[in-house]
């Protein structure tokens, strides 16, 4: 089976080609700003000489550790931090020959849906330079859509792999919670997040996942991947009736088209109901910010990161270092998370959110008794413009509704380019039961045959000729 286009295979073994690719990559990245650090030779020595990914370049979101690259998380606080070690997921890819060529831009600590919350750089959408690439793994998605790398790693806490993949017209896989080790992923909301992959082709995502998954002694919450025993020949797809509300016109159009196309492709399409969908955004933001407030307590300027050197005592050192080093969206989420965990409010917010999380899991369990997969839009809006012309931060959060459900339930989901509307790619996603990744790959592959990931205006393979 062809996992990856020919020109990517063994690229690092062909000096002439490599030189041409570097030139292309640099010029493409100048236009889109996907990378915080682009140094193709820096970690080459850490890659095995043989394996399925022999000499294949890939990019890694800058909240995933890769030695000796930096690990900034898009934050002023960590702008000079060098990664002392390499994440397990990355190590596994290096052991099969993959070469990390750079670290990609993101919303600070993964908090955002546009990559505008990066404190260090601006990334634009390769389809329209006046629009955001999505987020938080915006740099990874833009790099793949621009043809700089065939795939890139991201992290998905509430949609951060799938949404930017959708905005940039490529594939985004959020695996089952725990199947990919989180060792080396800077923690934001530990019970929700997982390392995922953004790729130009379904088969590439599939291969990368097959290498990355597996239990890891360094991550207590990691699991052995136990694929579902069989993938049915004929797939039944459920469409939640709750999904059609409040969609932007272009998303609604694409959603309807996709439903029709699935029917034509031989899928059985039927309506289902996920009644708890109305509450997922609330439950998600309560849980995510609560976990974030605890996880981000480690950024105190003492053992690593930027320090307020003029502080007179430790208390002041922590206060000043955090207040200067962290950006607005991160502060907002820490404040919210601290508030919902304060004594007296826990039952009303955190405990209630966790109970709603149980209801969401039960709704999905029930739905999967009748269907193999669920189809939903990825995001309520198409790629939006930067700043004031775009989508305000509150509306961005509400639009996480379709992605964050999979994180609350821990189930796998994969976004795929479904159509082009007004010159912009629109993504839909399939959701599967736990360990149902093969169902996702199968469904996405069938759709890919009639609608492969479109090439962005920046995308080029001329360097390989």
């Amino acid at each position: 089976m062809i996992y990856i286009e020919d020109h990517w295979q063994g690229l690092f073994l062909k000096p002439q080609q490599l030189k041409k690719w570097k030139k292309y990559a640099n010029s493409a990245d100048k236009k889109i700003g996907a990378f915080l650090q682009f140094k193709p030779d820096l970690a080459h020595i850490s890659s095995a000489e043989h394996g399925e990914l022999e000499g294949v370049p890939f990019a890694v979101k800058d909240n995933i550790a890769v030695r000796p690259f930096k690990l900034t998380c898009g934050s002023r606080m960590l702008k000079s931090l060098n990664s002392p070690y390499t994440a397990t997921a990355v190590k596994k890819l290096q052991a099969r020959g993959g070469v990390v060529v750079g670290k990609t831009n993101l919303d600070e600590f993964g908090m955002g849906s546009s990559t505008e919350n990066s404190s260090l750089a601006k990334t634009v959408n390769p389809w329209d330079l006046s629009r955001v690439p999505g987020g938080s793994s915006g740099g990874s998605a833009a790099a793949v859509a621009a043809g700089i790398v065939p795939f890139a790693l991201g992290s998905d806490t509430g949609g951060s792999v799938r949404q930017p993949a959708a905005f940039c017209g490529v594939y985004g896989l959020k695996p089952t919670y725990g199947t990919v080790s989180r060792y080396g992923l800077v923690a934001y909301a530990s019970s929700l997040e997982v390392i995922g992959v953004i790729a130009k082709r379904v088969d590439t995502a599939r291969m990368v996942f097959s290498i990355m998954h597996g239990q890891d002694d360094l991550d207590h919450s990691s699991l052995e991947y136990q694929p579902l025993p069989e993938v049915p020949e004929h797939l039944t797809v459920g469409i939640p009736i709750e999904c059609s509300r409040d969609l932007h016109y272009d998303i609604d159009k694409s959603f309807k088209k996709t439903k029709d196309t699935l029917g034509e492709l031989g899928f059985t399409v039927q309506e289902i109901s996920i009644p708890s969908l109305d509450y997922v955004v609330s439950a998600y933001y309560v849980i995510a910010t609560a976990e974030a407030s605890a996880n981000l307590a480690r950024f105190d300027g003492i053992r690593f990161g930027e320090r307020a050197i003029e502080a007179d005592n430790p208390e002041e050192l922590i206060l000043l270092s955090r207040s200067r080093g962290l950006g607005d969206e991160v502060k907002l989420r820490i404040l919210l998370g601290t508030y919902v965990l304060r004594s007296g409010f826990q039952d009303q917010y955190y405990l209630r959110a966790q109970k709603i999380r149980t209801a969401i899991r039960m709704d999905f369990e029930k739905a999967y008794s009748g269907v193999d997969l669920i189809l939903m839009p990825v995001y309520s809006y198409p790629p939006f413009k930067f700043g004031g012309d775009g989508l305000d931060p509150f509306s961005q959060k509400l639009a996480d509704i379709f992605t964050c459900t999979a994180n609350l339930a821990g189930i796998p989901a994969m976004s795929f380019p479904a159509s082009m509307e007004n010159g912009l790619p629109i993504g839909m996603q399939f959701l599967a039961p736990p360990f149902g990744e093969e169902l996702l790959f199968k469904a996405c592959s069938i759709f890919e045959k009639i609608f492969p990931a479109p090439d962005s205006p920046i995308y080029s393979t001329e360097w390989s000729e």
Partner: protein, 113 residues
């Protein structure tokens, strides 16, 4: 009976609604201090509006009946245990290198007293 349940729900809801205006500058200041964040007057204004907007939105959760539901705290059902044995750790020096200020193998901070 029906009436009393509804009445109870209403009380709960109205208490929550009262709680939001309770997120005043003082409350935000206390929360910020707990999170070890120092906010300027201008930041307090900005964050207060954003925090209030989200807390108000969270009130939507009160509509749902969660009476018989257990909380989901984590998705991994069984704890995975390991033997309590020593193992080699060879990254101490690399981790120390990240500290903003070092004196030999000690991380330096300002005077505690």
């Amino acid at each position: 009976m029906m009436f009393s349940i509804r009445a109870c729900g209403l009380t709960l809801r109205s208490r929550l609604c009262l709680m939001c205006p309770g997120m005043d500058r003082e409350e935000l200041y206390i929360t910020a201090h707990l999170a070890r964040l120092e906010l300027s007057e201008e930041e307090i204004d900005r964050f207060q509006a954003a925090v209030l907007q989200l807390l108000k939105y969270f009130d939507k959760m009160m509509e749902m009946d969660v009476e018989n539901l257990k909380p989901t705290t984590q998705l991994i059902e069984n704890n995975r245990l390991r033997e309590d044995v020593l193992s080699d750790y060879d990254m101490t020096d690399q981790l120390l290198q990240s500290a903003p200020e070092l004196e030999e193998r000690f991380v330096v901070i300002p005077n505690v007293l």
